[in-house]
């Protein structure tokens, strides 16, 4: 159902045209905690946009909850397109769910606005990838570790594409730097029996542990890891590309000290972020925190709305063209879509989680970084500096 409108020509007395938008996030099921956070952020953006006079339309959200069941994403998407007539869908958290939706949006020529960071190696004309690409999250973290902490890394992860690919990149970089992956231990999704992995870590005492476990598996691991290493008197840094503030609250004090790579932290000191966090807390409670993927869902809805406004129509070809290069000063800083690959240009950051359930940012890129979903610019031979020369790896720098 294509909706056209003429930006800036509407008289105040006229009713704004409505644009139906599908919202697909799992608010129940195995990753409901994160799904709810993302959903809440998307709805906050929808309400804000509908209250703003600068937009010549209203977004009518059509919400679907696939409950974490992969096949339900296909059903929900099919229903939204066939029965509601949406052209734009904001949704999907896991890569498995995105892959379910992809064939339908491509066949029917719709546009999926995908907020979550992912492992890369995909580039559909019918998806706008708003989350971080692998060169935004995995590369800065691994380069930092190789340069500053260790060239030997112990990997724990979920038996899932996110861990497989993250570990593959880590292995290539570590090997090229003369290091190695000490071990790669994977758990089935949702599995929380982490004792054997923690026992092995305490026995082998690796210099650093890279945690790519997701959801409840990760929470169980972080608690057990903290208890076991504390009891053994070990101080082993943990790394993550996915940990976020709501998860720090779920895990509790054991989550402190995790070195995390992300484009968004609640502690970013930008006026746009301070205002965003204030609005978030006013709406969802002083004790709650937005997450990186939630903030990205918020950004996704805003990027969609701004592209709709620029295009003057909901037609996906025109909206996609309008979105390319359209800069938005978001809570995480300036972002825009790279028209060449439909991925987001954004600013990578590194931080350490603290005992207050927040992150202390210690590094950020000097400027927003172009997305490289296929890692075509990755040169594994660019090893950490050994002679003081710059390697392009992030060095410790306090960001205030």
């Amino acid at each position: 159902m294509m909706v056209s409108f003429t930006p800036r020509r509407r008289k105040p007395s006229m009713t704004k045209p409505s644009i139906p938008v599908g919202i697909i996030f799992s608010q129940h099921g195995p990753y409901q905690a994160m799904g709810c956070e993302i959903f809440k952020s998307a709805m906050m953006a929808v309400d804000e946009i509908n209250d703003q006079a600068e937009f010549d339309f209203s977004i009518i959200p059509h919400v679907r909850d696939p409950r974490g069941i992969v096949s339900e994403y296909h059903t929900a998407c099919d229903d939204l397109i066939r029965n509601v007539g949406v052209e734009h869908i904001v949704g999907c958290y896991t890569s498995a769910s995105r892959k379910q939706v992809l064939p339908i949006v491509e066949r029917t020529d719709r546009l999926l606005w995908h907020p979550a960071r992912y492992e890369g190696f995909e580039c559909s004309d019918n998806v706008i990838y708003v989350g971080a690409s692998p060169n935004h999250n995995v590369l800065p973290l691994v380069r930092y570790v190789l340069d500053n902490l260790s060239r030997e890394i112990f990997c724990v992860g979920s038996n899932y594409v996110w861990s497989w690919e993250t570990n593959r990149v880590t292995r290539e970089l570590a090997t090229a730097a003369g290091g190695r992956i000490i071990a790669e231990r994977l758990l089935e999704l949702g599995e929380s029996a982490v004792g054997h992995m923690v026992d092995e870590i305490v026995r082998r005492r690796p210099p650093v542990v890279f945690n790519t476990l997701v959801g409840s598996s990760s929470y169980a691991f972080i608690r057990a890891f903290h208890a076991a290493t504390t009891a053994a008197g070990l101080d082993i840094p943990m790394l993550s590309c996915s940990l976020c503030e709501p998860e720090l609250k779920i895990v509790g004090p054991a989550s402190a000290g995790c070195i995390t790579s992300s484009a968004y932290f609640e502690s970013i000191r930008l006026p746009e972020n301070r205002a965003f966090v204030a609005r978030w807390k006013a709406r969802y409670g002083e004790d709650s925190s937005p997450s990186v993927d939630g903030q990205s869902a918020y950004v996704s809805v805003y990027l969609l709305a701004r592209a709709l406004q620029r295009a003057g129509t909901s037609n996906i070809g025109e909206v996609r063209r309008a979105a390319a290069g359209l800069r938005y000063n978001s809570p995480q800083g300036p972002v825009w879509i790279d028209g060449g690959n439909n991925h987001c240009v954004l600013t990578p950051r590194l931080a350490v989680s603290n005992a207050d359930g927040q992150f202390d940012i210690f590094w950020e890129a000097d400027a927003p970084v172009k997305p490289d979903p296929y890692l075509t610019q990755l040169d594994v031979a660019v090893t950490p500096a050994r002679d003081g020369a710059s390697s392009g790896a992030p060095h410790l720098r306090v960001v205030k």
Partner: protein, 194 residues
């Protein structure tokens, strides 16, 4: 020396012969994302040598001339299939494709087809080298046998002892058994006992 990631295709040169404009534009866009240069858009000789990979639409099959086949050199071929009928597949197989894609094309699948094609081509080339080496050795077995017989007669040795004698001589002189055997048979050379 700088070495790209084994899964990075940046800087590779491609010959792309695709009939349908939509399919061609999808390949062009995806190649730009991957950093691959399209050096020819039809089946013709490439100005500076051979391409690294060729995407050939099955609508161009069979290749019209030996010159078209020559344009591909030894590069891996990715066949674009419009139909799965045996008659068409037979023509495609004559190209000895390293990978294939099914039309109409989507951006998904192109990267995987390229990685599979390059990997398969590399492994095939290694196998070919191995086969060549083995064929060479097989041909020289006759010479080794002749040398063994000569040493057996000259030194009154059994066949295993004569072979051990030749092998020891080859090791001492840092030559292959085939090389030392050729010297024994052709020049009448008799290596000293170790």
């Amino acid at each position: 020396m700088s070495k790209p990631s084994s899964f990075s295709l940046r800087g590779r040169k491609a010959l792309v012969a695709i009939k349908d404009e939509r399919d061609a534009s999808i390949v062009k866009r995806q190649f730009e994302r991957l950093g691959i240069d399209i050096v020819a858009s039809e089946l013709c000789a490439v100005a500076d040598g051979h391409p690294d990979v060729a995407l050939i639409d099955d609508e161009f099959l069979p290749l019209a001339s030996p010159a078209q086949r020559a344009a591909l050199g030894q590069c891996p071929v990715i066949a674009l299939l419009g139909t799965e009928t045996p008659s068409r597949l037979k023509l495609v197989l004559e190209l000895d494709p390293a990978s294939f894609l099914v039309k109409p094309l989507r951006s998904a699948g192109i990267y995987a087809a390229l990685v599979v094609a390059f990997e398969k081509s590399e492994r095939t080339n290694e196998l070919k080298q191995q086969v060549l080496k083995l064929e060479q050795r097989l041909r020289s077995r006759r010479i080794v046998l002749a040398a063994v017989l000569q040493v057996m007669h000259a030194r009154a040795l059994t066949e295993p002892a004569a072979f051990a004698f030749i092998r020891r001589a080859a090791m001492e002189q840092r030559k292959t058994i085939e090389e030392i055997s050729a010297e024994i048979t052709m020049k009448g050379y008799r290596p000293r006992a170790g």
